[in-house]
């Protein structure tokens, strides 16, 4: 009935996509996974995602640049940042600039799902986490 949540997931470490995709599928997200930020940004230019989850430190481009790009193109999209280590300056900078939230590795898929649920609610298209078909 309700449209599934369009999520773009960007992290240059394969483990992230590999473990998150099934977890997010289960809550009714349609996930596109990218390991290359250039490709991800190109895709963002083509399509409006509801939620973009991106790592903050990647070799070719950092997460904040991705965020700026998303913000300009699709202001409605909620962006969530994955950090590899809690860096206070980055957290501060990111929060001021308007990212929705951030999560630090290592984390459990469910932790991210909670944040995505909040983002979905903020978008006006809430998802029901109790309906997880495990």
């Amino acid at each position: 009935m309700s449209k599934s949540l369009e999520v773009l997931l960007l992290d240059d470490e394969p483990i992230v996509g590999r473990r998150l995709k099934p977890a997010l599928d289960k809550i009714g997200c349609h996930v596109e996974i990218f390991e290359n930020p250039i490709e991800a940004v190109a895709r963002i230019d083509e399509k409006e995602f509801d939620i973009v989850v991106t790592d903050i430190r990647m070799e070719k481009m950092n997460g904040m640049q991705v965020f700026e790009h998303v913000k300009k193109k699709w202001p409605r999209t909620k962006v969530i940042i994955i950090t590899g280590y809690a860096k206070m300056e980055l957290a501060r900078e990111a929060m001021e600039k308007g990212i929705f939230d951030f999560i630090a590795k290592p984390f459990r898929p469910d932790d991210l799902r909670q944040i995505i649920a909040r983002a979905a609610q903020a978008l006006g298209t809430p998802i029901d986490l109790t309906l997880i078909k495990d």
């Binding site: 992230v16 998150l20 590899g84 290592p106 459990r108 898929p109």
Partner: protein, 339 residues
Amino acid sequence: MHCRAVYGEMIMRILEKFKKITHKEPGIRDFCIQTIRFRKLLENARGLLALLADGNEKVLGEYILDRHYVTSLIDSSVERLGMMIYDACVLVPEFGETLYTQYDRHKRRAGELISQNSPSATKDMEANTNISSDPEYRLLSDVLTWLNGEPSDPGSTVIDFMKQTFVRVLKHIDTGNNSTIELLLSNNVSKAPGSNMFLLDLWEDAVVPSVKPHSPYAINCIPLKLLLMDADGDNLSPLLDDKNKTATWVATASEYQLSLKILEPDCSFHLEATVSRHEPSDFIFIFADTTINTENILPQGFHTEITNYGQLAWKLDTASKDIEDSLISIGRNLSPKTV
């Protein structure tokens, strides 16, 4: 159990038996600093245990982690171990060379783990196909083996090294020749024969204080009160079940911390406790000679280790109430009430 409030009658009576060591005693400052340094050693060891526990939790497979997590686990472990070893060297300089030689071996192993590109898969990992496909997990399991896996020879894991260091250091500072405590006690015991229980304030007695005199019950020490709460003042210290009453008690106290040594000629018992109602800080740590039957002393819930030199036991990361109750039990067990 809010012990901060009232002094029970019983506790007062017991405390009066303690003789107060004051700043006028020689060597007391060094003794206090040594006690604080030993606590730092424990704190660093606790940090190492926490790292191990964290790694163990993550390896169960549910987490999304990156290589950075694993390498930083390695680095942190090396750093913590180094801090522990440093403390041990300060406490017992004679052990310095051997300790650092062993430490350097572990450092080299850590370096190998970090620069490994394709770590070997261990037997356990093959069972779980989910894990073996991720190099991060494979590396993590190698790290955990290095930290606390099955030792092919004793002392080769980090935790083994840690345990051995504890016992050797403790034995040396509590019972070695010319140990700080021996000097301290010999002076006191000779001055006041017959008294065998000593109490000092860790911070107040170390240097020349202000004018205020200190009596034993002026010391506000929560863990000590808990320990004595259910104890029988007339029957303290039967460590070896044979009513040997020549044991010496030395209690070093501050508001939330207690360092207690019970020393008999061939046997020693050491207890460290922090009770502050701040759970990350609270703990009980015990070292007991091999001859002591700790089963009669310790209540449930302690992690125990047996080594050649003695037994280790500790309780941490649990509710403050649990720590408090444990102290009361231990105190009771150390001095069972004569019916």
